[in-house]
Symmetry: D4
Subunit: 256 residues, 8 copies
């Protein structure tokens, strides 16, 4: 006998328990694109209390569409091991160029991140940050993304965090709000440069960094902040950027 009341209670209680357990986390990740999904898995498997906030219904960011709506992505040699780690199938197109399904890639990145213990909150947007002593980020300010889409005027809630990772893609939204609201911060979203895959992929290893105390930037947001070149549908750098962002976050958490 299936009782709707139990279904309602099960869903609300389970979600709320999870939400309330996560009002104070170690790592708060904004955006659930490929870089942050890698970062989430890496952090969670190290035992870090990790929450990922995604404004859309679905995770995966810009990876679903492959190149020009053909759902295939390319990954280069350096990142092949990450495909393997997540169990993503691939084939070799030419020496050093591996092709995978963009759909399977997202699915595997997400399921492994959740399996590792990261908590993903979808339909939830990081609309602002918390600061303390005017010199470090202390958490994220959250709202249902439907509030903005439906043009409602509703106050947000907050979640404390030791470190925040901005993986919101080209817009680098968390960095932008920080730049706008803390003009004294030495943080400027400079926008990505023209396409140059080789250079862009390499740049990501440098642009993935802490850009303000407590705020790390990953994936395309990293190149957007530091004016690195655009790369197109080659995703090796994105995956490695997520890995590096996790390492930097871990350092910061351990400092505390």
């Amino acid at each position: 006998m299936l009782d709707e009341e139990v279904i309602t209670k099960a869903i609300v209680e389970e979600y709320m328990r999870t939400f309330l357990e996560n009002t104070d986390v170690e790592a708060a990740l904004g955006g659930a694109g490929p870089a942050n999904l890698v970062a989430a898995k890496k952090l969670a498997e190290k035992g870090v209390k990790t929450a990922v906030y995604e404004e859309k219904l679905n995770v995966g960011g810009g990876m679903w569409g492959g190149g020009m709506m053909y759902p295939r992505i390319v990954v280069q040699e350096e990142a092949k091991r990450i495909l393997k780690e997540f169990g993503i199938n691939f084939s070799e197109y030419e020496k050093g160029y591996y092709v995978a399904s963009s759909i399977e890639s997202v699915a595997r990145l997400a399921s492994e991140a959740v399996k590792a213990g990261a908590e993903i909150f979808n339909l939830t947007k990081v609309e602002d940050v918390m600061v303390r002593e005017d010199d470090h980020i202390a958490g994220v300010v959250l709202n249902w993304s439907a509030v903005e889409k439906a043009n409602l005027h509703v106050d947000p809630l907050t979640v404390k965090a030791d470190v925040v990772i901005d993986g919101t893609g080209h817009d680098a939204e968390i960095c932008r709000v920080t730049q706008r609201k803390i003009p004294d911060a030495d943080l400027q979203v400079r926008g990505e440069k023209p396409m140059w895959a080789e250079k862009g992929e390499k740049a990501l290893m440098d642009t993935t960094k802490e850009v303000y105390p407590g705020l790390i930037v990953s994936g395309m947001a990293a190149n957007a902040v530091s004016a690195g070149p655009r790369m197109g549908p080659v995703f090796g750098g994105m995956l490695l950027s997520g890995e590096k962002a996790a390492e930097l976050a871990l350092e910061r958490i351990e400092e505390k």
Copy 2:
């Protein structure tokens, strides 16, 4: 050294090879929601040439949002084995009620379907059907969903199929176009009934059926066609409907 030309070629060639290999399939599935993802896995692992067409960028249909934006779903006893089969984590809320993450559920359903060999084409909409001898469906008529969204006037292409499964949710779009264009067909999308989880879940086993020669309906589309009750965020019936649709499709394919 990373060469953009190779990336472009790799993606286009791989996609086109796949597309051209699938201009004549055994099973064409419209919609990549939970029911059709289960069906796709079941068919593919039996060796059926299976293509899934999803108009959105992402797969997963209405499962991502859980209940009222709380990303949790409930699955009842009968379908627990499917959660296990796909490797989806769950916890028991109360005897016979299992709670899982809606996000992980989608990710696992999709990755297992791809792993089993089903080919998923996203951003691709089944906008019409092919008929033959005026008495059976012979394939699907496809277009980029962006064509409709961008309000462009562009002709579609076709893919032949032995059987088509309409898993497009409440709208039952493939059934609707069939009903509208073949008024003589004894096929009427009657719309789902008010909420009654218990009854709705059971009805799904009856409403998941062949509704026109060569056209099977699965998931919420099944209840929408046959006026079964609505169920809300309990997904056991959806998963079992996918399984049944696969069985029916297999029978039809084998008949040929």
Copy 3:
């Protein structure tokens, strides 16, 4: 010392506690316009477990704007006592015609309903009903109204109820969904007739009734269902309709 984490927890816990206490209510009211606010107060002060669902951010329905954006309403002799009961100021314009501020009226109706113990859930829409044995309403199907406004595909949750009052105004939304999904029900939303204040006000006492087992209709929804005349910015009938709806609901609850 003010801690955001405590603020977050206080709000989420208090809301969730209230929500979970109300997954099974005696009276579920759809719409928080003047009629249903009167009904809510009347029911709550009799000790009935009463929940009101309003899809907008604010309560008050069509009362705020008075007549042609001039924020004044008129109430006739018969309903003067209700103005007094709720503590709404008024002045006599002409014998038997009382004028009040539409803004103060809404504010008093709402504050008294809450004070009496009714629970108001705003931003929450009754999008469907629950039925049992195919012959009575057993509860309401709820969703965040922002889900619809933001064009998201998200499943609803449910709340059981002994009786439902449709006070959703001219659209009579709950009656409409019931009519559409249960065509056999002898329930038809016929639409209101042309303006005739005198006749419309009187009709409301007849049109406020149980229109399907477990479903009572109040306020403008009542005239919309039964084709009563429209009244314009005279609100006495609305207030009395709310009172009558409460009485009918009480009878039904007591029957159970």
Copy 4:
């Protein structure tokens, strides 16, 4: 016998009488959010001729939605007395943190302001200011907000005022138009800072001030003008800001 002509005349005459009695007021308040509703009550009960202009149909500003659509607000110790003064129910969540219904709070703030004698004009927007001698605000320029929403080109009307309070929230609209049109004024809307509830609440006591001769700013508009931190769904500071704005307005009115 109910006569529509009397209803029409009652509403138009009552509104117009009120409007014409208020073409020259002592205090003109832009926005009917929580701060200005407190200010309106405080001013009106001191006998100040007070008019409040609200562009929406409903009053209450951003308070209705509580935090993330959960209709609860938090008020801290210092402002508990204002909850009591307005008759708003609350419960103690933790020492010094009081939780109230956001819906009841708005309703009580509004009904008490009206009861005290403040005149609220809804659907009416302060779209500009009047200046005199190029060095002080002399009144407000009003239009139906529907004119702007319906994209019509219609001239406004004016109301003289000794003092204007900008309580239009984050946008600080009256301050913005003053800044734009009087560039020499030492008035700059700097935008609010990141979330820091403790500091933001305290800042409000400083940022609530006269920012240009005859123009006082209250509530979130005050922090928006002076770059105070954002606070989220804790409303104690808002209520106290309204109280302070009323005191400053009173001083200015008495000077004249």
Copy 5:
């Protein structure tokens, strides 16, 4: 010395005096296109208390644009005398075909109607009718047209009238609402027929008639109701239709 307060008072008082003088009129005309402007002049110069309601800011209906945006209209022999009566310049293109400026035509029609004593209320829409004894129209239900455009929920006001003329063009809005709300009325808006200028112009003399007790239809609305042919940018029939509508209205008023 120019005082804004006097300007405000002058405008509000003059409008309100006029509005209140017109809560009970003899003839209420919906739409201020060419036919109703002629009707208004004819009625007003006979001493009939005449009010015209136009939902747009400007009067003139579909006459401004001439034919295909070339601002010229054609009037045939029979209506030449009306051009003269209103002082509209014209030239003879060919025997029996007179060409005038569409802009000057509207301007003259409107200024002469006002000069004759008709009261024009623009931005005001007839959204419904008043009925009495279920068998005759007793007045109009008015709202600011901006209310509908701005998607607000605001109640209307009413004006009593002995006779109503629907001159709302192709849509025949007043007839439509009457048809919808009084299905028993023998009134059906059948829509205009294909273009046939000769026949359409003649038909207008027959289709301009009382279609329900107290409701006369004029101009394109007349052909729309009675399925007369469309005429294009020849306006003689429109002007004559207005004249006839005035005569019919006068008869009805005199009967009372």
Copy 6:
């Protein structure tokens, strides 16, 4: 020396001369898609006074986009001679299947139609028809398509014609307006059937016919009117349909 005044005069005079020379034509073609461009050429080269009206800026209808945005079309054996006649390049893909550039095809169809003497008016929509004696079409009712797009209320102009060809594609707009406005006409737009290229191409030879005295239908509009199957990006039938429509038109013109 280049003088703007001469440029202005040259363009206006040349267009107007052409327009005025074409207020009475032999054949008026609605829509400038592939079928009507073939028809226009065929008619014009026989000396028929032919005007084509296209509502878009560009001609070519649905041919530009090829199949699924890949700008290639297929033409079968029977229509190869038309490709040759218009000078369109093609290659043989497989026996009986010829592939051409959709872009070059449109360009050649249009340039040859103009060269043959057909007059194309773009941005001009056939919004209605003229009828005479209630039993035959006598011409077209034209308006700038920008009038509709810009939501303006502007009267149309007319052009007389012995025969009208509706080549407006799937919508069959001219047939629809005729059906709606002349319900007695035995003309019903039934909508196209599901995809079946072979059958659809053949059906076109039957469905291209006179559907009402003076009204011939061509191209996809023909299958839409007579419920012929859809064909997709194979265009042989379209070209042959244009040819047949021209022959039928010629017969009708010669009868007169």
Copy 7:
């Protein structure tokens, strides 16, 4: 017998003749609001070849709506004589304040301007200017306003003029395009100041001037360019500004 072909020809020929007679005018006026209608009459009655371009269907600019949608305007003593000159009815509200119907005012301004010989082109927008020798305006660049509204990409045509008057209201569109395209011109649209009727009305006499060789500005555009105060629904200054603009234009034309 009424022949549509004659109607079509009459309208097209008359318009085109007028258009071609006006490809080289003495005064080109952008915008047909109250100031430019006065200017047009004044110029035309002096025998100046005058063309007025209005982008809307209707003339009258912001005058139709009176103040806050109450269709009444106020005119002060100094401009009373212009009301009389145009034959506009008015009543004295208070010494020196005259009230007129905004609707009659527009109608009279337009009909007198046309009667005096000014040619008004509606639906036509001045989208740019012509310059010569980089130091004076030599004409206007025109397009159908529907082109912009319908988002079409269509080239404009030109009309030569000795002088151009920008009477496009608050936006001062012709001045803005001149400022943007000729940055060296000492022309800056500074925007109007806050409301101060007395000062604004007086300022208009100074701000109505030649702002660039060959470009005069009138009405609200004049105050918008020179940062004069806003005035609201008092229109005396507007009428006098039109008169002055005409005088300045006359001087410039006579210089040539």
Copy 8:
């Protein structure tokens, strides 16, 4: 017998073969307006591997609409030879002024460019450029234009090119993205100047040039980049600009 599968395969294979043959071209032209169509023909007939990318379905840019929607263009003496070269019909309006159909002109420009061997990709947008060594353009970054219109987040693909010609009209989109992303480049889109046909046509010969290593600008984009005057519907300069752009491109290609 017509087989849909063959049609699908023919279109996909032919397009893909062409696309893959063009992942490395000599000249990549952005925009298929008149200038670039001339350039494409000139380059292709010299044997240069030339690809043209057009974001719309149709080619022809702003030429279709002639002047103010009258589909005629003017060409002056100097460019008459190009009309002849493309086989476009024209007539002499006045000495040195030739008038042609805008529709035929586009059709001939396109068909001749394709015939010469240029490959046109429609529905494809150049959204960015590739750079190398930070000092020259190395190719284009392409996406389906429907991706942007449908608001999808999908990665682009790339095509290498020796030289890129920006012929995207007034917006000069490729120059703008280059300017924004390479701020150090001495490249600034300055916007076109007011209308001066004579001067603008001459300027085009100077403004058509290489503006950044590997990036040439043609047509209206050339005047937009270098602040040349606007010309209106005279197209001689556009055609000559295309010719010159081809010559410059050829030089650059030969240098390599």
